[in-house]
Subunit: 263 residues, 2 copies
């Protein structure tokens, strides 16, 4: 973690040309489920009027996967995390707009004066990772100098930094497609959960409402979700039935993939 | 295509440090179906005792996607191709073994003497793309200087260059997982095909044999494959029934994803 304090956040910009692996960064879409809402972890720097994904450059001797784990460890305190690479954003002109957005803020707010030839303004590709985390386990860090880290509702109208909205959309699209073979509720829900909680996650990812009865029937047909002989206490309404992911069948589903096709 | 002749293949190695986007390359897993066998397009350079994936470095002003399309256009003549990015291989020590494998060959066979500080020996990430092509439409190019390009059976025992076997395995694993929402037969088969042909493709991707009857039932349950009132002529056995992908339903399936879950 020593490198974090020295070279992450704004301190990274003061490093020389050949300090990081050139032309590549990592950005993470971190999702958590809390009080019936799917949320995304975002950060904002003072002087920037937009939310950005937790991200970093890649150390010269660091695996890209390790960089993604490091970023999340730094922000959430979590070590063992469900983390998947989903896309390399490799458009040639990806960071041309960065110049306009950030140059003045660096100078005004942080007193960092970097010229137009600085490596930060060269072409950058970024590798997107998405993470599904247990909201209750996350300990948000204080962030770097000038940084605020917050959970925001995924579907709210947010002002995103640069192309980060596109990065989020692609992550959701990927999770939507993968939800045929990755049981997406497991990582986000507590051990015991209700069917409406599971449905809300699917509805948010799918971007539309799902029929209550059909969803329940389909979810149970996966084979790895089982009904418990328990109900959730404490609500104002009739206590809803609790379910859980059967660990063995869930493991099988992950190993085999192709759950849905049943081939 | 001008850039191809000047800067692809071995000619690329003679370019200066800052000619390509640093530290990244593109490699393509190209699959085609011919005479009942799933095949992969591979190339081999004189002096190298191993097959490699068609690949390239990325020009400084070139989208990564465009680089992948260029690589395939160069080798197969095809413009409109089913091409998907599937993974960035970003291990820090990815190309350390390259030194041993290639240095002597470059000198002995091609007379190119590149020293250990050459950019080719620095850390390289590679972006994997996979392509599903219509075998009959492919016009293999002659390749670059010293290069042989061939279709090889996917499951045969091949000696792969460097980590390219891992790249192939990851591509197949991805296609296997995505086969729940991407109808993988469509791009590989002629317009009209038999059920055994479709099953062979799935069997190769899944790496195991599938029950004939169950497969047929499942395949038809997708909703986008329809039985034709025709049989395939010319075989020694009873003429098998022909099928086709219904274009409209296939399009819907692609748009919606989640075909299999039916959510």
């Amino acid at each position: 973690m020593e490198r974090r304090e020295q070279f992450s956040g704004l301190a990274a910009l003061k490093k020389p040309d050949d300090f990081f692996h050139p032309g590549i960064s990592v950005d993470c879409v971190v999702l958590g489920f809390h009080e019936g809402i799917l949320k995304i972890l975002l950060s904002r720097y003072e002087g920037f009027d937009a939310w950005m994904l937790p991200g970093s450059f890649v150390f010269k001797d660091e695996d890209v996967d390790a960089a993604a784990h490091r970023i999340l460890k730094e922000r959430t305190g979590l070590d063992n995390i469900f983390l998947r690479q989903y896309y390399l954003f490799g458009d040639a002109h990806r960071n041309l707009t960065l110049k306009k957005e950030s140059k003045q803020s660096f100078k005004d707010v942080y007193g960092i004066d970097i010229d137009e030839n600085h490596w930060f303004y060269r072409r950058f590709m970024t590798v997107g990772y998405y993470a599904l985390v247990d909201f209750t386990q996350v300990q948000l860090s204080e962030g770097y100098e000038g940084e605020t880290i917050e959970w925001k509702e995924l579907n709210s109208q947010l002002n995103f930094y640069f192309d980060h909205e596109k990065l989020v959309q692609k992550a959701i699209e990927t999770i939507r497609q993968q939800s045929g073979y990755i049981p997406i509720g497991k990582e986000l829900l507590p051990e015991k959960f209700t069917m409406p909680e599971l449905r809300t996650i699917y509805e948010t990812i799918m971007g539309r409402s799902l029929d209550r009865r059909n969803f329940q029937k389909k979810a149970l047909s996966f084979g790895y979700i089982e009904k418990l002989d328990e109900t959730k206490k404490g609500g104002a309404h009739k206590a809803p039935i609790l379910y859980r992911f059967n660990p063995e069948k869930y493991k099988q589903a992950q190993d085999v993939g192709m759950v849905a096709l049943g081939l």
